[in-house]
């Protein structure tokens, strides 16, 4: 029975003397390897070069701010509910008078943690968020020596201030501006 037309009959004839000294086949093989000497290298020299990701790549989370630098997150907990890996925890607090320049709405997250070891980078938190407060960026979690280092706190996740830290903000945005 023939399943595919790629099947090849195995040649089980005993080797001739010339074949049995392997020389010709070895020379052929050496021809193949030497041709690879001139081929393009597949390596990406990592810290200097980085792989370009697709536009829809889902990497590390970013907690967003609005144009004046106020945190968008209202600690509604929809992202934590949506998260299939249960990687997100948060604690809510009420905005006090005089904190209007820090938080956009009356409620905010004092504590916001994502466990990057649990996270499966599905992006459901981004879809669940009604305030555009969390999105997945183009970078991935760097290596770390301990498990603790993979639990990202609010400070690790927050995007730099758009007014006070302009350059860092632009860098963190990446090519997200073009998307909007």
């Amino acid at each position: 029975m023939q399943l595919t037309n790629r099947a090849k009959q195995v040649d089980r004839k005993p080797m001739t003397f010339l074949e049995s000294i392997y020389l010709w086949n070895i020379v052929k093989g050496m021809g193949i390897t030497i041709s690879h000497l001139f081929k393009k290298k597949a390596t990406i020299q990592y810290p200097e070069q980085t792989r370009t990701f697709s536009k829809v790549f889902r990497g590390l989370h970013v907690l967003n701010r609005d144009a004046e630098g106020r945190e968008n997150c209202t600690a509604c907990g929809l992202c934590a509910v949506a998260c299939p890996a249960e990687a997100i925890t948060m604690e809510a607090a009420e905005r006090l008078p005089g904190e209007e320049h820090l938080y956009r709405e009356e409620k905010y997250a004092v504590k916001y943690e994502i466990n990057m070891l649990r996270c499966i980078f599905c992006g459901l938190c981004e879809e669940a968020c009604p305030k555009d407060a969390i999105y997945l960026s183009q970078t991935f979690a760097p290596a770390n020596y301990g498990r603790k280092g993979f639990i990202y706190k609010k400070e690790d996740l927050l995007i730099p201030h758009p007014v006070n830290e302009k350059d860092a903000y632009q860098k963190a945005l990446g090519n997200r501006v073009e998307k909007n």
Partner: protein, 349 residues
């Protein structure tokens, strides 16, 4: 004629030459490891080591430094004396082989000429063979003294492989000696400079000799004594720190020296091809330098071929190894020898 009339200048000259050659062997061995990794990278579409210094040229220094600082472990059940003797013997035999190789044309001064060869003895090439045979003991002693079954199997394999491949190597060499009529390395080179390289007259002999040299150096496809994946690095499995370094280094020095021997026997030694360099009337020291560089170029090419073969083909099975050695190479070498002898007789009428 005094028996003990030792010329101090002679001793000094030889001592400097020996120091230079040992230094050269170490240097070349170091950078062969670098070349090995670099070429391996290129042949596999990678870059190879490129972080330590520009293009990674300090990589061998880093490797050597790492080996020096590794913990020294000597297994309790091992035979201590032999365990220490193994790597030393491997290193000594690897270094001694280079004594009879002529590295270039002699430097002529007004005091006399200084040959770039430690010992131009009459039995020249036979010294190489006898020392290489002693080199088996480095592997055998190391493998046996480790008191480890993998090492022992590797040592036995290594010994049988070396013995099997020395035969066709010797037979291929005899055909060369028929043509030169001398065992002296300097005369073998002079003969090639006058009549053309031996590789032209002895292509089969060259191939046999080269294959056997691969086997003698335990290089892929004949690296059965090491066999990383079946025998856990074989005879030097129990070795650590600089003792392991000695074994690995001895292997590369062996490669260097066997390339030098092949270049001397078949590729005209330090002879520059296609030109008659005697008509240039250059300064003797410049001539020595050029001839030495030519020899080094030939050696480098052979080393590249060694590496190239390693990253092309997998290891032979033990039965393939023995079949190739005893049933294929020895008959071919005998045939080559008989044909050469017949042709030499016919030419001499």
């Amino acid at each position: 004629m005094y028996l003990m009339a030792i010329d101090l200048w002679f001793i000094l000259e030889k001592a400097i030459l020996i120091a230079c050659i040992i230094g050269l062997s170490f240097f070349i061995a170091m950078y062969t490891t670098y070349a090995e990794r670099k070429v391996a990278g290129w042949l596999q579409d990678r870059h190879g080591p490129n972080r330590a210094g520009p293009f990674g040229i300090f990589q061998p220094l880093a490797d050597g430094g790492k080996l020096f600082f590794k913990e020294e472990i000597i297994p309790l059940a091992s035979n201590k004396v032999l365990f220490l003797l193994g790597p030393g013997l491997a290193m000594i035999t690897a270094l001694v082989t280079s004594t009879v190789i002529p590295w270039g044309t002699p430097i002529i001064t007004d005091k006399g000429s200084i040959p770039l060869q430690v010992a131009d003895v009459d039995m020249g090439i036979l010294i190489v063979f006898s020392v290489v045979s002693v080199g088996v003991y480095g592997i055998m002693i190391g493998g046996w003294a480790s008191n480890n079954k993998f090492s022992l199997i590797a040592a036995i394999r290594g010994a049988s492989q070396m013995v099997s491949y020395e035969l066709p190597m010797g037979l291929a060499l005899i055909a060369v000696l028929f043509m030169t009529g001398s065992l002296k390395m300097s005369e073998i080179v002079a003969n090639q400079a006058a009549n053309g390289w031996h590789i032209i007259y002895q292509p089969l002999g060259f191939i046999i000799f080269f294959v056997c040299a691969l086997a003698e150096c335990n290089r892929t496809p004949f690296d059965l004594p090491e066999a990383e994946n079946e025998l856990n690095f074989g005879y030097h499995q129990e070795y650590s720190s600089m003792k392991l370094g000695f074994y690995l280094f001895a292997e590369y020095i062996n490669m260097f020296v066997s390339s030098a021997v092949i270049a001397t026997l078949f590729l005209g030694g330090y002879d520059i091809p296609f030109v008659n360099e005697a008509s240039w009337k250059l300064e003797p020291w410049l001539m020595s330098l050029i001839s030495f560089s030519v020899l080094m170029a030939k050696i480098s090419f052979l080393l590249f071929v060694f590496i190239w073969i390693r990253w092309t083909i997998p290891r032979f099975r033990y039965d393939q190894l023995m079949n190739l050695g005893w049933k294929k190479l020895i008959p071919l070498a005998l045939l080559n020898m008989i044909i050469t002898a017949a042709v030499m007789l016919w030419l001499n009428k």
